[in-house]
Amino acid sequence: MTVIPEPDSVMDITAPAVPEAETSLRRFISDFTDNKVAVSALVVFLAILFVAVFCPLISPQDPYDLAVIDIMDSRLPPGSESMSGMQFWLGTDDQGRDMVSAIFYGLRTSLAVGATSGFIALCMGASIGLIAAYFGGRVDAVIMRVVDLQLSFPAILVALILLAILGKGVDKIIVALIAVQWAYYARIARGSALVERSKEYIEAAHCLALSNRRIVFRHLLPNVMPPLIVVATVQVAHAILLEATLSFLGIGLPVTKPSLGLLISTGFEYMMSGKYWISFFPGIALLITVVSINLVGDQLRDVLNPRLQK
């Protein structure tokens, strides 16, 4: 990706050209680390990410390997020992799986679904928003009307309609989550692209007779990225929560791909008999994930917002 110099640095001829990118990155890092809460949230989030990526290596057992789990160990309270002497720190679920391992694998599924759908929605929404802003006029009016309409429906209703039609499945829930999210990205991308479009470097690109495609994707896109990244962090947290909700309702992921929502849903059946741990711990894991992403997103917003810069 070509780095487009900021208009200021183009004007300021005396400024050294090379270390510019580096210093702005350094400033970004020092601004971000100003807030201790956000830094600890980032550390927590990275730990969760690590767990999700490397869960086959670090989890005490493979919860979906039928040879490892024993039905005799089912629904044991936290801290109890299995027949073979293994410690279940957070207890076991109805199939005798270790809850720690089940949560690790569940985190992996939840994060993967949230991140995949968020990334595709970001690409789609950003392209559509940029197209709307760049071409303006009728194209813009139609696209933004569709965006407004979509956003006037609650996200859970849109997802419900799509899943009622499509049925269960990993691919289907990703489609539903993309459909729910793209409009937010489109709106943000259009808003900031409209501001960027009137700046000199776009005019300069026009004077060089570059193609529309090149201007939109190589010049406009990199400069509307910061607000999109902020929205993306918040949206991924939303997507993870929505996916958990839909899986809990039994219309999201299939039982073979247990996410945190599905684990909580399994535990719900045993709640009445006081076996709280099957629902409780996955819920805590979900809560920590969502809160840490939200806190990081909040700090990113403050750091990247030019209006708040000193």
């Binding site: 309609i161 009622a164 499509l166 958990a244 909700t245 809990f248 709640m271 009445m272 819920g283 809560l287």
Partner: protein
């Protein structure tokens, strides 16, 4: 003004038509209705007859027209599971959902505004800090998990509140209501709190931010200087001015509450529309599914239309901008 209303109504109608197309073709093309609607033990000849009787031999666009014609007559077919007309099923369950949504809305207003007001008046006190950090949790906690934990604490451990159903109901104007009987009210309490949790946080944050802004205004200083009692300053001067943004947001949240009641109703087995749609999706009850989706979509389009028109009445800039575009 009338240009604006006509234009928006046409757009709303277009959205309903598009929705009906998506739902109809989605359900009919992706799933095969023959498999679902006709007994698989029929022989070939009976199968042909059944397909003809249901109109499934017609081309898709003709089937769609028949479907639209029936829908306008309020005929969405019969539920496979309940064996009753689907429209009747949905209308029967609507009051339960609306009761739940309104109660949780009222709860978030009558609890949220005083708490937010308190937090805004004394931002440094520990109570206010607790209220504000509690409201952050309200945004991040998954609704369904909070519901489960509430059942665990209040129904399983303490055993003071019932966890399923509506309890005893009273018939008022031909509609069953739960909140008028003690038993029904007990049943309503947990679902309403669960559903209103997110809204409560929203109202607290809005009224806290509003109070902190209003308290600095000149008219508050003037009222104090004039010797108006502190009580009256807060309850009249401050409260009136923070209500405007709160009411706007609350109005917009009603639709969200109805949509999110799907989750709460499933957890607490509340016999409303949301539980009906989840059950029908799980039981592959196609007619109920189609009817529910169309009815809710139409409901939301209507709510949005009314909000748009109200806004344009209140704020002329909205309609002028639209006519220009």
């Amino acid at each position: 003004m009338s240009v604006f209303i006509i234009r928006r109504s046409m757009q709303a109608a277009l959205v309903v038509v598009v929705m009906s197309l998506i739902v109809f073709f989605g359900v009919n093309v992706i799933g095969n209705p023959v498999d679902i609607l006709i007994n698989p033990e029929f022989d070939h000849e009976e199968m042909e007859r059944a397909i003809k009787a249901l109109g499934l031999d017609l081309p898709l666009w003709q089937q769609y027209l028949v479907f639209v014609k029936n829908a306008f007559q309020g005929n969405f077919g019969e539920s496979f599971v309940y064996g009753e007309p689907t429209l009747k099923l949905i209308v029967q369950r609507m009051p339960a959902t609306l009761e739940l949504a309104f109660c949780s809305l009222l709860m978030s207003i009558f609890l949220g505004i005083p708490l937010g007001l308190w937090a805004g008046l004394k931002p440094e006190s520990p109570v206010s800090k607790t209220i504000m950090s509690g409201s952050i949790l309200g945004f991040s906690l998954p609704t369904f998990w909070v519901g489960i934990m509430m059942i665990m604490i209040f129904a399983v451990e303490l055993g003071i509140l019932p966890s399923t159903g509506r309890g005893a109901t009273v018939r008022v104007l031909g509609i069953d209501m739960s909140f008028l009987t003690l038993d029904g009210f007990k049943h309503l309490l947990m679902p309403a709190v669960n559903l209103g949790f997110l809204n409560l946080s929203l109202v607290i944050r809005l009224s806290c931010a509003g109070t902190r802004e209003v308290i600095l205004q000149d008219y508050i200083k003037f009222a104090r200087a004039k010797g108006v009692s502190p009580r009256r300053v807060v309850l009249v001067h401050v409260l009136k001015n923070i209500l405007i943004p709160v009411i706007t947001v609350i109005g917009l949240q009603l639709g969200n509450l109805i949509a999110f009641s799907v989750v709460t109703e499933t957890i607490f087995s509340w016999p409303g529309m949301g539980k009906l749609i989840i059950d029908s999706i799980l039981l592959l009850d196609r007619p109920v599914k189609v009817a529910y989706l169309l009815i809710t979509a139409t409901m939301f389009v209507t709510i949005n239309l009314v909000v748009d028109i109200l806004y344009s009445v209140l704020d002329p800039r909205v309609r002028l901008q639209d006519i220009k575009a």
